[in-house]
Amino acid sequence: MESLVKRFHLALTRDIDVCALDGVSFEVPQGCFLGIAGPSGVGKSTILKCIYRTYLPTSGHVWYRSALFGEIDLANASERQISLLRAQEIGYVSQFLKVIPRVTAIDVVAGRLIPFDYTWQQARQRAQLLLEMLHVPKDLWDAYPATFSGGEQQRINLARGFITRPRLLLLDEPTASLDDGMKQHVVELILKMKQEGVTMVGIFHDQDTMKRVADSVLNMGDVIARNDIAKRAEAMS
Amino acid sequence: MLSLIDERYNFAFLDEGSKREIRRKTLKAVAIPGYQVPFASRELPIARGWGTGGLQLTLSLIGPKDVLKVIDQGSDDSVNAVSIRHLVENTAGIATTEETGEATIIQTRHRIPEQPLRENQILVFQVPLPEPLRVIEPREEITRRQHAEMDYSSMWLSLYEDIVHWGVVTVSHSYPCIAHGRYLFSPSPIPRWDIPKLNHAECLYLFGAGREKRIYAIPPYTDVLPLSFEDYPFEVESFVGRACCKCGSSDTFLNEIFDEASGQKIYQCSDTAFCKKRQREREI
């Protein structure tokens, strides 16, 4: 990631400019986990959303070595390219479950495999395995996740992110509403995926989890301070 | 014979300009089998809807050496056939006949003679409704587009609905046909029995609709196929076990008649000239 800037320009009642990120740069080697730390409101999620292109970066580059297109700048790639990358190699697990209503838990997870030419039957088998690993009670599999508790939804979300074995996985507080026992399972899964070569960028609110999974940590507080110093130096010279 | 001609009229009633118009449109119709060619339909001493289209074709086609036969639903003797024959006799003075084989031009309403027609014969149909799609689509603008695009799915659909509701296609006359693999046309209200006679015939078939101002044609040796689904082949009327009470034919299109004397249904050839011929042959 190279000096990424994200500004929101809102023109509703009056024009407002919100600068969420101002020149953030970092690198993650393949198969490594980069943790992003910092106080809330500092733009941690914004980074993930810029990589995933839910947010359109204002300037800067996100270089990603993709299997589909080779080296590609996610900040400037076409929407179609992003669509394909999302379907095939970039996963995103958010704090909140955002799924289509009236689809059962198992199909929410299994559906991710359909673009990979799985039949629904095969996909559901894979999904079952993962739901078992995440200890989602069997009687919930055929229920609608909208009615689930926070922790249950979170696990559906994780299963959805993990099932395709993405090359790059973005995790936005995936353990926020899980108890310690469940966190343990999730951490194990993450470590297993890392072993399999999945590159990950993640935000965890608790430092213990972060320490266990992250190979390196980007502290947003430091980034901002560094940028401020650089700017001041620029202004002075 | 010549003394019968009413000299106040042009030969064959129509003026030469009108005949030329009709002949030109007829040529165009022959060139595009099944395509309805609009023409300037003239006033005639019979009402529109009573065979004026066929009559205009006949009048513009006949020359002094032609022999005309006029039939109405197979019969030479019905009022309409007789009147039309008289009109032509009075204004053209040409020979008329009831013998199918002798005629060069036959004007007909709702039948094709049983005796196969030859290369030097023309059958002229009187057509009430030239547009086969009219029953489904009232707008001329749309039916023209459908013909242009060869979009006949609506007609197929009506046959399909027929089969779904009744198990068979219930169309008894004017069965829609495709000419030369291109235009859908109405064969005029002839029974299904006559449809196969349109395919690869030796004679020329001309269709005239006076009220609707359309001429169309099926030239000799043209493919004429009735619309039919693969699993519901086209079928003609069946007269199995029945025969004409007059000539004994069992291979002709029969009319059902109620015999008052016996109180029973009896059958009789629709083509009266053919029936008489069979009767004569039988006596000999």
Binding site: A11, Y55, P101 | S153, W156, V164, F229
Partner: protein, 292 residues
């Protein structure tokens, strides 16, 4: 993730084109009602020319639709989205522009320049359409099954048994009671009529489906069921879909990518989640905020 060797944008585009060809390409489509004049296209903010009074329902629309993809077109009524769809279905003649389908003459022929006979062929064999108003898409004097049959006949199926069989299969697939297949759609509820339309549109396995405000005017619970059906069918059959709606909730549920139209122009396009979470154009921002 930094790497030494970096492909230029152009090179990645090429690599990408090899594998992934749009099913449908529309270039510079404009539709004008009225004579038009030289000053016609000057002002972006209005669709009616103040000089000559011509109405520009669509102006310079370019879109691409990939196989199996759902593209949403959102905008208020009068933004030109339905006109655009009617143009693509050859129901309206375009003023300018071109349209290509990868499956027709290798994507080299501009379909707007083809004869109406060819356009009919393309519509019957490669496209399906579901109209907002079922009276536009269905023949009400013909049975529901007959309506499906019409599309099959149009695509050259002339075997009553096979037609019946396929119609019944579709009928069941859209969850309609089989015993009502020979009934006129006039007797059906709005939601059922939309189901019949969907069955008809899908009858001949088109790779491309147009949906114009399919749920507008339906009860909320019925809307949900129709949308579920559309989504399931899309996953099952892999049909590419163009979905026109004024309702962002519909777009959010179905579309991969979204195009926002106003005054006949595309003012913004992007991934649907990006349009919803990071809208760029003030109008889109207003639209999204109205949703929440």
């Amino acid at each position: 993730m930094m790497e030494t060797k970096i492909l230029s944008q152009q090179e990645t585009d090429d690599a990408f084109d090899e594998h992934d060809i749009p099913l449908m390409k529309v270039k510079g489509l404009s539709k004008r009602y009225g004579e038009g004049c030289e000053k016609c296209t000057m002002d972006d903010s209005i669709s009616r020319c103040p000089e000559c009074g011509a109405l520009w329902a669509c102006r310079d629309i370019s879109i691409e639709l990939y196989p199996k993809e759902i593209l949403g077109i959102v905008g208020e009524s009068g933004s030109g989205k339905s006109t655009l769809m009617r143009c693509l279905y050859f129901e309206e003649q375009v003023t300018h522009g071109a349209m290509y389908l990868s499956i027709f003459r290798s994507g080299k022929a501009d379909l707007f320049k083809e004869s109406s006979q060819i356009q009919r062929y393309i519509r019957n064999h490669m496209m399906g359409m579901v109209f907002q108003n079922p009276w536009m898409g269905l023949r009400m004097h013909i049975s529901g099954g007959g309506n499906i049959a019409e599309k099959l006949i149009a695509a050259d199926m002339y075997h009553v048994g096979s037609i019946r069989c396929r119609a019944a299969e579709l009928w069941r697939r859209v969850e309609m009671p089989l015993e009502r297949m020979d009934e006129s759609p006039r007797n059906f509820s709005g939601g059922m009529q939309q189901r019949v339309q969907i069955a008809k549109a899908l009858a001949n396995h088109p790779p491309l489906l147009f949906l114009d405000e399919v749920t507008t005017g339906l009860d909320l619970s019925v809307q949900a069921k129709v949308l579920d059906l559309v989504r399931q069918l899309q996953q099952e059959l892999g049909v590419a879909m163009l979905i026109v709606s004024h309702d962002l909730a519909v777009i959010r549920m179905l579309a991969d990518r979204t195009v926002v139209m106003k005054h006949g122009r595309i003012i913004e396009e992007g991934l649907t989640d990006q349009i919803l979470e990071d809208p760029q154009h003030p109008y889109t921002q207003l639209l999204v905020r109205s949703l929440l």
